[in-house]
């Protein structure tokens, strides 16, 4: 265990001696598969880098992201302001770093809300079938049939614009596909012999769902979540575009572009910088998700 080689042997051994070793061995093998996809590795590296940059924002930022200098607005990149200044003379580079915290934080929050909800609804509907399925799926249908952005907009407007309501709004519109996915997975899993075997041990339906069905759904869900992260960023940006996203002075990437897009013909670098950030983050999440799918969910590819 002390050397990398020993660790590797410990991980890939065909005869693990504990559950923990078996689980880590499985993860390591997945990692080995994942590692062979350069695009996915690129995506992962970028995501990790972004997270590190955002966590280290206070160390890396050159300015207070909220500090206004009205006399120096929309300045071009310079030694003082590496990426220029925005419409209120704030340092774009520093705002970008802090904005990543908000944006990525929103993404994480949405995912943490959506995935368990969708999983629960889908698994319950799929496993029990019958009335529970019909009721839950009708509710899912209502939310699916709702124009998504409108639902989010209405929700935000009904509460008040801001990060929390944007998160809630995006979550509100994002869960139905997860429920559908989890339901579909559950329906296939439910009829397998291994679930039949568990049923024959006399286990309760809840135990079966929780311990045996959900693990089969989580993998495709993880993939879907990773691929969705970019949509979440983009939805947040669209909300920002329509004035309903994170609100100024909060430096959220989507809101940054949304407020700066009016300078696209004049001070084009102001909207371009957060746009590149969003592009890079989205692409990284997408590539990561694609790579994860190849590994975790070979049948979907």
């Amino acid at each position: 265990m002390s050397t990398p080689a020993a660790l590797r042997d410990w991980l890939i051994t065909e005869t693990p001696s504990s559950r923990r070793q078996a689980a880590w061995g499985r993860r390591y093998r997945l990692w080995c598969d994942f590692r062979r996809n350069p695009l996915a590795i690129g995506g992962l590296a970028t995501v990790v880098l972004l997270i590190v940059l955002c966590l280290a924002a206070p160390l890396l930022a050159t300015h207070d992201p909220g500090q206004q200098t009205l006399t120096n607005r929309l300045a071009a990149p310079s030694a003082e302001h590496w990426l220029g200044t925005d419409e209120l003379g704030r340092d774009v580079y520093s705002r970008l770093l802090y904005g990543g915290r908000v944006t990525l934080g929103m993404v994480v929050a949405v995912v943490l809300l959506v995935a368990p909800l969708g999983l629960a609804v889908g698994c319950i509907a799929g496993y029990f079938g019958g009335l529970a399925d019909r009721v839950l799926m009708r509710v899912t249908d209502v939310f699916l049939a709702f124009p998504r952005l409108i639902l989010a907009l209405a929700f935000v407007a009904a509460i008040k614009p801001g990060i929390t309501s944007a998160i809630a709004a995006i979550a509100l519109t994002a869960w139905p596909p997860y429920a559908r996915l989890a339901r579909a997975e559950t329906m296939t899993v439910r009829n397998t012999d291994y679930i039949a075997a568990v049923r024959l041990t006399g286990a309760s339906p809840w135990r079966i769902i929780l311990r045996h069905v959900t693990p089969m759904c989580t993998q495709s869900l993880i993939v879907r979540v990773t691929l969705d992260m970019s949509s979440i960023i983009l939805t947040a940006a669209s909300l920002g575009f329509l004035g309903m996203g994170a609100q100024p002075p909060s430096p959220e990437w989507g809101t940054m572009i949304a407020t700066a897009r009016r300078f696209i013909l004049t001070e084009w670098w102001v909207p371009l910088v957060p746009a590149i950030a969003i592009f890079v983050a989205s692409l990284a999440f997408n590539l990561l998700g694609d790579g994860l799918r190849d590994v975790l969910d070979p049948k979907q590819r």
């Binding site: 890939i12 093998r29 598969d33």
Partner: protein
């Protein structure tokens, strides 16, 4: 006289933990005869047979001193040359018609497609030929079957369609990869008898791949027994009782039988020396 010559064929696949050798140094020569290739799952019998038509997965690494079909070097032939062999000169029948027939095309259309690809006839002629072929595989109402989708056919019916399709261009060699293992015992016998009959009547060669040694011996002239990627023994089907290799004998001995009840079955002890 068509001859398939396989000399020192090896097939390997790259995996996460190095190269896995599926077939190692197999040599076989097949003429106009009925050859059975027998072995347990993973013994490489299927890969060996498919390599003749170069129908292996893209990741397979194939090497051979010689792999030829009627003098054509299969390893170096162009895709067009291979297409001239596939179907036209050698047919392939797979295990389960549920998967090996295209589920969204009618049986008739699939047979007609095979016929047209190699005979260049009109659509109508092809469909007529298809119905005629279905008659040849002893289907009583060929018109209904021709219009049916694979999932509407029973397993035996589907396998007959498969045979008809492969016979359409009148090939010289038929490779049957476990053609009956998905079928019930009664149907299995019918299909094998049908194949044997067609092959003999048309003077074709047959390669029958199976895990069922007694079964193969009933329908083939010669049997090659494979174990872990190698041919461990080649013998005439009639000589099976006198098989020399312990593996071959083991396969026969471990079967429960109706005629000879035992309290405990014989269990094969695998000699590591078989692998070398």
């Amino acid at each position: 006289m068509t001859a398939v010559v396989i000399d020192n064929l090896s097939i390997a696949f790259p995996t996460a933990r190095g190269i896995s050798h599926a077939v190692r140094g197999v040599s076989l020569t097949i003429g106009t005869e009925k050859l059975g290739i027998v072995g347990e799952s993973g013994s490489g019998k299927s890969l060996t047979a498919r390599s003749i038509l170069r129908l292996l997965p893209a990741s397979a690494q194939v090497t051979a001193d010689r792999l030829s079909f009627d003098g054509i070097d299969v390893l170096r032939a162009s895709e067009a040359e291979m297409r001239a062999i596939r179907g036209k000169r050698a047919g392939l029948i797979l295990q389960d018609p549920k998967y090996s027939l295209n589920p969204v095309m009618t049986a008739g259309a699939q047979i007609a497609e095979a016929w047209r690809t190699h005979r260049k006839g009109s659509r109508r002629a092809a469909l007529q030929a298809a119905e005629h072929l279905l008659e040849q595989v002893q289907i009583r109402d060929p018109q209904r079957v021709a219009g049916a989708y694979p999932h509407e056919l029973s397993g035996g019916m589907g396998q007959r369609v498969m045979i008809a399709m492969m016979l359409a261009p009148d090939p010289e060699l038929l490779i049957a990869d476990e053609p009956t293992s998905a079928l019930d015992a009664t149907v299995q016998a019918e299909i094998l008898r049908l194949m044997e009959d067609l092959v003999s009547r048309r003077g074709m060669g047959l390669i029958l791949i199976s895990h069922d040694l007694p079964l193969v011996s009933h329908f083939c002239d010669r049997v090659a027994v494979m174990y872990a990627g190698r041919v461990v023994e080649e013998l005439r089907a009639a000589d099976l009782r006198r098989a020399g290799h312990a593996y071959t004998r083991g396969l026969l001995d471990c079967l429960p039988t109706l005629s000879d009840p035992k309290v405990r079955l014989n269990v094969m002890t695998r000699d590591p020396a078989w692998l070398t």
